[in-house]
């Protein structure tokens, strides 16, 4: 299969993720969409690694996974805290700060 197709897939996933961030209200889902975007990027790295015949791209993918895991830790901490305070995981409810 043409490696370019993986790229298209990656772009598609990224777009889905990005649109998801914008349209979904639940903080967890929003966060998952972001993870989806990160993984889309990972896919792109791996694909390029394949296309370019260079292993560095795959190394990046590992790093990304680790970083994403850290992000989950921090993110969930924040989301949980706010859920406990507000009894709501909707990102739209958190709009005290504006204008």
């Amino acid at each position: 299969m043409d490696a370019a197709n993986y790229l298209y897939l990656s772009v598609l996933l990224f777009t889905i993720g990005a649109v998801g961030v914008v349209v979904r209200r639940n903080a967890i889902v929003v966060f998952m969409c972001i993870e989806l975007m990160l993984n889309a990027a990972n896919l792109a790295f791996v694909t390029f690694s394949r296309i370019n015949g260079d292993l560095n791209g795959q190394v990046v993918a590992f790093f990304t996974m680790v970083v994403a895991a850290c992000e989950v830790v921090v993110g969930l901490a924040i989301i949980v805290t706010i859920y406990r305070s507000r009894r709501s995981a909707s990102v739209d409810d958190a709009s005290l700060l504006k204008r």
């Binding site: 990005a18 914008v22 349209v23 929003v30 990102v91 958190a94 709009s95 005290l96 504006k98 204008r99």
Partner: protein, 629 residues
């Protein structure tokens, strides 16, 4: 040219007096009037000394100069503070200081009850100094300093009693209208510098022959504008009547004898320009002719003695201007009339002051009558002045005015006939209104109120009147004897060729006397044969009404200049507030408004922020796409 070191004292003495009197304040109240009078008198003495020196020199060597210091020097614009005393200015010096001193003396008594007499003398001294500078400056710019200086002194003196709002307004009006004239002088100086490269009399005179007629005409017209302002000539005449708000000695000195004649001086002094600019010269004549009738007509309807005299002054200066506009042949006669007028008009004003002094400052002639008995000396001196202004031989006016009328007739062609007729007509009207003044004031029945107790004025007041009366009687004869003044001034003016003689002098005199007789007769018929109402009748002809309102001069000025000006000012004030500052504020508000509007982007919803980022990212891609393709 002869130089002298003493010219400056002419000016310095009265100036010093003014400074001392102003700075010393109330401390000088006791002796201020004495000092003021002494300063004026000593300036007169210096003037006499200068005259004696001058007489001792040959015709050509008579002018003397004194350079004081370099005043302004920038590039080629070089003006020295320098004085020039020649045959023309010595006439003025003596008139100013002589009449001035007499009026100082008069004022000591006239103003004795005034709380601010010292200040009055300070102003008088200031005026003398400025007026002397006006006639002694050797360049137009030096003249200009004096020119505005006398305007200032006149402003201060008209407004001497400025606690009365009307008087304060009168002084302001005088100053502003004078400034319009001054603007003309500014223009004249600018044009002179731009076209000739110098502003001194001598410098311009030297270059006059290779200067374009256009430039000279422009200079001449602008000088005429200046003259109309200062000398209350048409169309800048309206301030003079109101200027009578000042104390009467002021009217006598400034608004009759000296300052208002500065225009005549200016034109005469600029003879070399006018001689080379016929158009300007013609305008001078026209202005003079209009004004002499204008003033005379106003004079016929005035009940205020001072305003009647003021109108007369305007008219008489019209004669002088007209004379000066007739070219080389007329200058000397203009000056002669100026000098004789200085005597008789000052005398009459002082007389009027004397009357007012005895009548509790009443100025309405309809409240006078029969004062002959109560004020014999005033009547006598005033009467002599009256005869002089009428031009009854051998009084002063006969010599000077007839010469102008004669010159007017002889100026050639239709112009001569028109001018001659105008001057003759003026003489007739003059006779009418002056007779009216005499009758209303001194003869008939008394019309004054009970509490008024007319009395003759004290010595210090009548003495100057008497001296001036002597001048009114004799000055014309003395000045014209053997063409004394004409010959004295002759070296200053261009030679003039023989003139065609339209009418013989004796015919002119006859005609003039006839007109005078008619005027006198009408006045007698109108005012002596019937009772004079102590309140001005209202059921008078339209012409009288118009004449009472100074031929609508104020209405005209108000309608054409003042009210549109005020309106424009108001509009501009509002425009500045609303449009210009409004635009500035608008920019500020626009910034604030757009800030408030853009604030809306910050909705507080994290998803909208994310959308913003997403849109931003897409736009970035699009932008790069556009740029690179």
């Amino acid at each position: 040219m002869t130089t002298s070191n003493s010219l400056v004292y002419l000016i310095a003495l009265p100036l010093l007096g003014a400074i001392i009197l102003i700075l010393a304040g109330r401390r000088a109240d006791k002796w201020g009037h004495i000092l003021g009078t002494l300063m004026s008198a000593s300036s007169f003495v210096v003037g006499l000394y200068q005259l004696s020196q001058m007489l001792g020199r040959s015709n050509q060597a008579r002018p003397v100069t004194q350079k004081l210091f370099e005043w302004i020097s920038v590039g080629t614009f070089k003006v020295d503070a320098a004085l020039l005393l020649d045959q023309l200015s010595i006439c003025f010096v003596l008139l100013i200081t002589g009449v001035g001193t007499l009026i100082h003396i008069y004022s000591i008594s006239y103003m004795s009850h005034d709380h601010d007499r010292r200040r009055f003398f300070a102003y008088l001294n200031l005026f003398i100094a400025a007026m002397l500078l006006l006639v002694l400056g050797n360049s137009y710019l030096n003249l200009y300093v004096g020119w505005e200086g006398v305007g200032l002194a006149s402003y201060l003196l008209i407004g001497f009693w400025n606690q009365k709002p009307a008087y304060a307004t009168a002084s302001k009006k005088a100053f502003v209208m004078n400034r319009i004239g001054d603007m003309g002088l500014s223009f004249a100086i600018m044009i002179a510098f731009a076209s000739v490269g110098t502003v001194s009399f001598e410098g311009i005179k030297e270059h006059v022959h290779h200067t374009s007629t256009g430039a000279l005409t422009a200079i001449g017209i602008m000088l005429l504008v200046a003259a109309t302002g200062k000398s209350a000539q048409f169309p800048l005449q309206a301030w003079l009547g109101d200027a009578m708000a000042g104390p009467t000695p002021v009217s006598a000195l400034i608004h009759a004898a000296t300052m208002v004649t500065a225009g005549v001086y200016l034109i005469t002094r600029s003879s070399f320009i006018f001689d080379a600019a016929p158009t300007a010269q013609l305008l001078v004549v026209i202005v003079g002719a209009i004004t002499l009738l204008f003033g005379a007509l106003i004079g016929t309807a005035k009940d205020d003695i001072k305003k009647a005299l003021a109108a007369s002054t305007m008219s008489q200066i019209g004669y002088m201007i007209l004379g000066a506009g007739l070219g080389p042949v007329g200058y000397a006669f203009a000056i002669m009339h100026l000098l004789t007028h200085g005597f008789f008009k000052a005398g009459m004003f002082l007389g009027a002051g004397s009357v007012m002094h005895g009548m509790n400052d009443e100025v309405n002639m309809r409240k006078y009558g029969a004062l002959r008995k109560f004020m014999p000396i005033t009547f006598a001196t005033f009467g002599l002045g009256y005869l002089a202004i009428l031009g009854v031989p051998p009084f002063a006016g006969f010599y000077s005015k007839d010469m102008i009328i004669e010159t007017a007739f002889n100026s050639g062609g239709t112009k001569g006939i028109i001018l001659g007729s105008v001057t003759l007509l003026g003489a007739g009207i003059t006779a009418f209104y002056m007779t009216r003044v005499m009758i209303l004031t001194f003869t008939g029945k008394s019309r004054w109120d009970e509490e008024v107790h007319p009395h003759e004025s004290p010595l210090l007041m009548w003495l100057p009147m008497a001296v001036l009366a002597i001048g009114s009687v004799s000055s014309g004869f003395l000045l014209s004897r053997g063409d004394a003044l004409v010959n004295w001034l002759a070296p200053l003016f261009e030679e003039h060729g023989e003139h065609s003689e339209l009418l013989k002098p004796i015919v002119v005199s006859g005609l003039a006397l006839m007109m005078v007789a008619i005027g006198v007769a009408i006045a007698f018929l109108k005012y002596s044969r019937q009772e004079v109402a102590s309140v001005a009748p209202e059921d008078v002809s339209v012409f009288t009404k118009i004449a009472r309102q100074d031929l609508m001069q104020d209405r005209f000025n108000e309608a054409v200049f003042m009210r549109p000006g005020q309106h424009l000012t108001q509009v501009l004030v509002k425009t500045d507030e609303a449009v210009i500052d409004g635009a500035v504020r608008g920019v500020g508000q626009m910034a604030m408004g757009s800030g408030a509007l853009l604030r809306g982007v910050q909705s507080g919803f994290v998803r909208s922020y994310a959308a913003l980022i997403l849109v931003g990212a897409v736009l970035l891609i699009a932008a790069i796409w556009v740029v690179t393709n």
